[in-house]
Protein backbone atom coordinates (compact mmCIF):
# COMPACT_ATOMS: atom_id res chain seq x y z
CA UNK A 1 0.00 0.00 0.00
CA UNK A 2 1.48 3.32 -1.00
CA UNK A 3 1.97 6.22 1.35
CA UNK A 4 0.81 9.44 -0.27
CA UNK A 5 2.75 12.68 0.08
CA UNK A 6 -0.20 14.39 1.80
CA UNK A 7 -0.31 11.96 4.72
CA UNK A 8 1.93 12.31 7.78
CA UNK A 9 4.86 9.91 8.06
CA UNK A 10 3.88 6.57 9.55
CA UNK A 11 0.26 6.82 8.39
CA UNK A 12 -1.22 5.88 5.03
CA UNK A 13 -4.39 7.25 3.47
CA UNK A 14 -6.48 4.41 4.90
CA UNK A 15 -5.22 5.15 8.41
CA UNK A 16 -6.30 8.78 7.98
CA UNK A 17 -9.73 7.66 6.71
CA UNK A 18 -10.18 5.34 9.68
CA UNK A 19 -9.13 8.07 12.13
CA UNK A 20 -11.61 10.50 10.54
CA UNK A 21 -14.33 7.85 10.96
CA UNK A 22 -13.33 7.38 14.60
CA UNK A 23 -13.49 11.15 15.04
CA UNK A 24 -17.05 11.17 13.63
CA UNK A 25 -18.03 8.10 15.68
CA UNK A 26 -16.78 9.85 18.85
CA UNK A 27 -18.95 12.90 18.13
CA UNK A 28 -22.05 10.78 17.40
CA UNK A 29 -21.52 8.48 20.40
CA UNK A 30 -20.94 11.42 22.74
CA UNK A 31 -23.92 13.38 21.42
CA UNK A 32 -26.38 10.47 21.63
CA UNK A 33 -25.25 9.66 25.20
CA UNK A 34 -25.70 13.28 26.26
CA UNK A 35 -29.20 13.43 24.71
CA UNK A 36 -30.09 10.11 26.34
CA UNK A 37 -28.79 10.87 29.84
CA UNK A 38 -29.38 14.62 30.07
CA UNK A 39 -32.66 14.92 28.17
CA UNK A 40 -34.47 11.64 27.51
CA UNK A 41 -34.08 10.04 30.95
CA UNK A 42 -35.15 13.18 32.92
CA UNK A 43 -38.13 13.58 30.57
CA UNK A 44 -39.12 9.98 31.24
CA UNK A 45 -38.84 10.12 35.03
CA UNK A 46 -39.81 13.73 35.74
CA UNK A 47 -42.34 14.45 33.00
CA UNK A 48 -43.66 10.95 32.30
CA UNK A 49 -42.60 11.14 28.65
CA UNK A 50 -40.86 7.82 27.80
CA UNK A 51 -40.98 8.08 23.99
CA UNK A 52 -37.63 9.86 23.66
CA UNK A 53 -35.89 7.19 25.76
CA UNK A 54 -37.42 4.47 23.59
CA UNK A 55 -36.09 6.20 20.48
CA UNK A 56 -32.68 7.28 21.77
CA UNK A 57 -31.82 3.99 23.53
CA UNK A 58 -31.39 1.92 20.35
CA UNK A 59 -29.80 4.84 18.45
CA UNK A 60 -27.19 5.28 21.19
CA UNK A 61 -26.67 1.50 21.32
CA UNK A 62 -25.82 1.43 17.61
CA UNK A 63 -23.60 4.51 17.93
CA UNK A 64 -21.73 2.91 20.84
CA UNK A 65 -21.28 -0.37 18.93
CA UNK A 66 -19.82 1.44 15.92
CA UNK A 67 -17.55 3.58 18.11
CA UNK A 68 -16.25 0.50 19.98
CA UNK A 69 -15.70 -1.27 16.65
CA UNK A 70 -13.73 1.70 15.33
CA UNK A 71 -11.55 1.79 18.47
CA UNK A 72 -10.79 -1.95 18.16
CA UNK A 73 -10.14 -1.59 14.43
CA UNK A 74 -7.72 1.34 14.72
CA UNK A 75 -5.99 -0.26 17.73
CA UNK A 76 -5.48 -3.49 15.76
CA UNK A 77 -4.04 -1.42 12.93
CA UNK A 78 -1.36 -0.27 15.39
CA UNK A 79 -2.51 3.33 15.77
CA UNK A 80 -2.90 3.41 19.58
CA UNK A 81 -1.02 2.29 22.67
CA UNK A 82 -2.81 0.09 25.23
CA UNK A 83 -3.32 3.00 27.63
CA UNK A 84 -4.88 5.09 24.88
CA UNK A 85 -7.25 2.25 23.94
CA UNK A 86 -8.33 2.01 27.59
CA UNK A 87 -8.93 5.77 27.66
CA UNK A 88 -10.90 5.71 24.38
CA UNK A 89 -13.15 2.91 25.68
CA UNK A 90 -13.63 4.13 29.27
CA UNK A 91 -14.59 7.68 28.26
CA UNK A 92 -17.40 6.25 26.11
CA UNK A 93 -19.29 5.37 29.32
CA UNK A 94 -19.20 8.93 30.67
CA UNK A 95 -21.50 11.68 29.33
CA UNK A 96 -19.41 14.20 27.35
CA UNK A 97 -16.49 11.73 27.73
CA UNK A 98 -15.78 10.98 24.08
CA UNK A 99 -15.57 14.73 23.35
CA UNK A 100 -12.32 14.66 25.35
CA UNK A 101 -10.93 12.11 22.89
CA UNK A 102 -11.32 14.41 19.89
CA UNK A 103 -8.05 16.25 20.56
CA UNK A 104 -6.10 13.01 20.86
CA UNK A 105 -7.60 11.65 17.62
CA UNK A 106 -6.84 14.93 15.80
CA UNK A 107 -3.23 14.87 16.98
CA UNK A 108 -2.92 11.29 15.77
CA UNK A 109 -4.37 12.31 12.39
CA UNK A 110 -1.87 15.15 12.15
CA UNK A 111 1.21 13.00 12.55
CA UNK A 112 3.26 10.59 14.60
CA UNK A 113 2.85 12.52 17.84
CA UNK A 114 2.19 9.25 19.64
CA UNK A 115 5.85 8.31 19.78
CA UNK A 116 5.41 4.78 21.03
CA UNK A 117 2.43 3.79 18.89
CA UNK A 118 3.21 0.41 17.31
CA UNK A 119 2.49 1.80 13.85
CA UNK A 120 5.42 4.18 14.13
CA UNK A 121 7.83 1.55 15.35
CA UNK A 122 6.97 -1.25 12.97
CA UNK A 123 5.75 0.31 9.74
CA UNK A 124 7.84 0.05 6.65
CA UNK A 125 8.11 3.61 5.36
Amino acid sequence: MSTSNQTPPGLDSQDITQLKRLHLASLVEGSTLVILVCLAVPLKHLAGYPQLTSAMGPIHGLAFLFYAWMVINTASAGLWRKGQVTRLLLLAFIPFGTFFNIGMIKRREAGPAVANAPANKERVE
Binding site: M1, P58, L62, L65, A68, W69, M70, S76, G78, R123
Partner: protein, 139 residues
Amino acid sequence: MTYTLIKSLHIVVMAVWIGGMLTLAVAMTGWKQAAQADVPAHLKIFAAVQRWNQTVTLPAMILTWVTGLALTMMGNWPPSAALVIKFLFVLALSALHGIQSGSFRRSLGQSQLAAPAILRYAAGFTLVALIACVLLIEL
Protein backbone atom coordinates in the same frame (compact mmCIF):
# COMPACT_ATOMS: atom_id res chain seq x y z
CA MET B 1 -44.99 -7.65 5.65
CA THR B 2 -42.38 -5.11 6.80
CA TYR B 3 -41.32 -7.48 9.58
CA THR B 4 -40.82 -10.34 7.07
CA LEU B 5 -38.85 -8.07 4.74
CA ILE B 6 -36.55 -6.91 7.54
CA LYS B 7 -36.15 -10.53 8.68
CA SER B 8 -35.13 -11.55 5.15
CA LEU B 9 -32.71 -8.61 4.91
CA HIS B 10 -31.26 -9.57 8.30
CA ILE B 11 -30.52 -13.11 7.08
CA VAL B 12 -28.95 -11.86 3.82
CA VAL B 13 -26.67 -9.24 5.43
CA MET B 14 -25.70 -11.65 8.21
CA ALA B 15 -24.67 -14.22 5.57
CA VAL B 16 -22.59 -11.57 3.76
CA TRP B 17 -20.96 -10.43 7.03
CA ILE B 18 -20.07 -13.98 8.14
CA GLY B 19 -18.86 -14.79 4.62
CA GLY B 20 -16.60 -11.72 4.69
CA MET B 21 -15.18 -12.68 8.09
CA LEU B 22 -14.45 -16.22 6.89
CA THR B 23 -12.78 -14.81 3.75
CA LEU B 24 -10.53 -12.62 5.92
CA ALA B 25 -9.69 -15.60 8.15
CA VAL B 26 -8.81 -17.78 5.15
CA ALA B 27 -6.76 -14.99 3.52
CA MET B 28 -4.74 -14.47 6.72
CA THR B 29 -4.14 -18.21 7.12
CA GLY B 30 -3.04 -18.38 3.47
CA TRP B 31 -0.73 -15.40 3.96
CA LYS B 32 0.80 -17.01 7.05
CA GLN B 33 1.44 -20.28 5.23
CA ALA B 34 2.77 -18.68 2.03
CA ALA B 35 6.50 -18.62 1.51
CA GLN B 36 8.00 -15.13 1.98
CA ALA B 37 9.06 -14.97 -1.65
CA ASP B 38 5.50 -15.70 -2.85
CA VAL B 39 3.84 -12.92 -0.82
CA PRO B 40 4.37 -10.05 -3.32
CA ALA B 41 2.58 -12.09 -6.00
CA HIS B 42 -0.45 -12.53 -3.72
CA LEU B 43 -0.65 -8.91 -2.52
CA LYS B 44 -3.13 -7.94 -5.26
CA ILE B 45 -5.50 -10.68 -4.10
CA PHE B 46 -5.09 -9.60 -0.46
CA ALA B 47 -5.76 -5.97 -1.49
CA ALA B 48 -8.96 -7.12 -3.25
CA VAL B 49 -10.03 -8.94 -0.07
CA GLN B 50 -9.38 -5.73 1.88
CA ARG B 51 -11.48 -3.66 -0.57
CA TRP B 52 -14.32 -6.21 -0.28
CA ASN B 53 -14.06 -6.01 3.49
CA GLN B 54 -14.34 -2.20 3.48
CA THR B 55 -17.08 -1.87 0.88
CA VAL B 56 -19.25 -4.94 1.50
CA THR B 57 -18.48 -6.76 4.76
CA LEU B 58 -18.39 -3.65 6.99
CA PRO B 59 -21.75 -2.24 5.74
CA ALA B 60 -23.22 -5.76 6.04
CA MET B 61 -22.14 -5.92 9.69
CA ILE B 62 -23.73 -2.54 10.44
CA LEU B 63 -26.93 -3.56 8.65
CA THR B 64 -26.99 -6.80 10.67
CA TRP B 65 -26.92 -4.72 13.86
CA VAL B 66 -29.64 -2.35 12.61
CA THR B 67 -32.00 -5.05 11.29
CA GLY B 68 -31.43 -7.26 14.35
CA LEU B 69 -32.32 -4.39 16.66
CA ALA B 70 -35.36 -3.51 14.53
CA LEU B 71 -36.59 -7.13 14.65
CA THR B 72 -36.20 -7.26 18.43
CA MET B 73 -38.17 -4.04 18.84
CA MET B 74 -40.86 -4.80 16.24
CA GLY B 75 -41.38 -8.34 17.50
CA ASN B 76 -41.75 -7.17 21.11
CA TRP B 77 -39.55 -10.07 22.15
CA PRO B 78 -39.49 -10.43 25.92
CA PRO B 79 -36.01 -10.21 27.49
CA SER B 80 -34.63 -13.74 27.78
CA ALA B 81 -31.33 -15.46 28.54
CA ALA B 82 -31.18 -16.74 24.94
CA LEU B 83 -31.44 -13.18 23.60
CA VAL B 84 -28.70 -11.93 25.94
CA ILE B 85 -26.39 -14.82 24.95
CA LYS B 86 -27.07 -14.13 21.27
CA PHE B 87 -26.27 -10.45 21.82
CA LEU B 88 -22.98 -11.41 23.50
CA PHE B 89 -22.07 -13.61 20.52
CA VAL B 90 -22.81 -10.71 18.14
CA LEU B 91 -20.60 -8.42 20.27
CA ALA B 92 -17.78 -11.00 20.19
CA LEU B 93 -18.14 -11.45 16.42
CA SER B 94 -18.08 -7.67 15.92
CA ALA B 95 -14.95 -7.32 18.07
CA LEU B 96 -13.29 -10.17 16.18
CA HIS B 97 -14.12 -8.50 12.88
CA GLY B 98 -12.63 -5.23 14.16
CA ILE B 99 -9.38 -7.04 15.05
CA GLN B 100 -9.34 -8.88 11.70
CA SER B 101 -9.93 -5.70 9.67
CA GLY B 102 -7.35 -3.62 11.54
CA SER B 103 -4.69 -6.33 11.46
CA PHE B 104 -5.25 -7.10 7.78
CA ARG B 105 -5.06 -3.40 6.83
CA ARG B 106 -1.86 -3.03 8.87
CA SER B 107 -0.40 -6.16 7.24
CA LEU B 108 -1.10 -4.77 3.77
CA GLY B 109 0.50 -1.45 4.76
CA GLN B 110 3.67 -3.25 5.84
CA SER B 111 3.48 -5.95 3.11
CA GLN B 112 4.08 -8.31 5.99
CA LEU B 113 1.56 -10.26 8.05
CA ALA B 114 1.02 -8.68 11.47
CA ALA B 115 -1.76 -10.63 13.15
CA PRO B 116 -2.33 -11.35 16.86
CA ALA B 117 -2.32 -15.02 17.85
CA ILE B 118 -6.04 -14.91 18.68
CA LEU B 119 -6.83 -14.70 14.95
CA ARG B 120 -5.63 -18.30 14.56
CA TYR B 121 -9.06 -19.33 15.88
CA ALA B 122 -11.05 -16.71 13.93
CA ALA B 123 -12.65 -19.08 11.39
CA GLY B 124 -13.55 -21.67 14.03
CA PHE B 125 -15.03 -19.10 16.40
CA THR B 126 -16.99 -17.44 13.58
CA LEU B 127 -18.63 -20.74 12.67
CA VAL B 128 -19.38 -21.66 16.29
CA ALA B 129 -20.90 -18.22 16.92
CA LEU B 130 -22.99 -18.45 13.74
CA ILE B 131 -24.39 -21.86 14.72
CA ALA B 132 -25.05 -20.63 18.26
CA CYS B 133 -26.90 -17.52 17.00
CA VAL B 134 -29.09 -19.62 14.67
CA LEU B 135 -29.87 -22.21 17.35
CA LEU B 136 -30.63 -19.54 19.96
CA ILE B 137 -33.55 -18.29 17.82
CA GLU B 138 -35.32 -21.56 18.58
CA LEU B 139 -34.94 -21.24 22.37
